[in-house]
Symmetry: C2
Subunit: 188 residues, 2 copies
Amino acid sequence: MLGMALEHAILVSLLEQPGSGYELARRFERSIGRFWTATHQQIYRVLKRMEADGWVTAVDVGQDGRPDKRDFTVSAAGREVLTGWLHEPVQPEAVRHDLAVKVRGAAFDDPAGRAALIDEVVRYRAEHEELLARYLAGEKRDFPDISSLRAGERLQHVVLRGGIAYERMLLDWLDEVLITLRHLREES
Amino acid sequence: MLGMALEHAILVSLLEQPGSGYELARRFERSIGRFWTATHQQIYRVLKRMEADGWVTAVDVGQDGRPDKRDFTVSAAGREVLTGWLHEPVQPEAVRHDLAVKVRGAAFDDPAGRAALIDEVVRYRAEHEELLARYLAGEKRDFPDISSLRAGERLQHVVLRGGIAYERMLLDWLDEVLITLRHLREES
DNA sequence: GGTGTCATGTAATATGTTACATGATTCT
DNA sequence: AGAATCATGTAACATATTACATGACACC
């Protein structure tokens, strides 16, 4: 059970705030998704197993105007599993950076293909510029007074700072990539 | 076949330099591994399929003092597959950042557990400091004169710059994380 | 004699992705 | 009337990880 993965992200998210599979999926699209991606199908499957293993307990909640949902809460056993995992060493990350492969691959493409890559990098850059703007807006909204945060909020905030730092670094790097690609275009 | 993955990283690597499965695995531990991780088991399996599909061709090379190896080269068909993929939009990255989950999870750990996390972050930071040093040494060694690089080398270099930028950003962020964790410790 | 590197793989299991499926309500 | 959102899942398939397996040679 070493190094297991989605389970722990779900445990953290449910400890911060109990919720349904659907709500979890939405959180994974937003906040948690900054450092752990998962689709609703994965989440439902893992939640089912976690419930069977007694890591979480579910309560049916009727809602008016909306379908019923099943609200999950972390059990004492689930909390123990999480703390056990927290004390394991951090696993090396599995990196998968599409764009970097494409940039190196551009060496084997023709000028038209490289021109298309420039457009694609521009599009990709715009996406991440928006993402950074959303992170910064979220920081302003959720952590307006940084000096008065409780422990959990401070930890959430420093993780958000990581997302912001990552996006800024990425934008700067994409500018370097664009300079390089445009430079190569002008030479040919 | 959209969005397929390891295949393309292998094609780029073999176009830069033909080689055996073992050599590819070593490259994935080093240079390519900065943006795409893969184990030798994965590589052998995918190479087999790529050979069956005619994307690469293999030549047996006898070596003295060493086991024979099978050297792979990208075929014309493989090159076409790669350029086809290069012209597809970049897929959103699947992020999986263990440490960020643990930092948020630390909110639900006891003081002893948080102290242990500080030690773990320190260890992790030292690992990445070494990695950055290796990248910088590699940059000096492989790109001593930046003004006189050919197209392929310039693209390789800008990708390496990305790795360097990432590691620097990570180290700065880890310092922020340490400040936050130590601050919480002193308050308790 | 033991450790490490070179070189190749198989098998079992776990995880992740994609497509499909349902049904109510709210908004335009 | 049609599209979007809320809410839950199953099934089939693809990919990744982990453990196991073999054998030669080089170096200490």
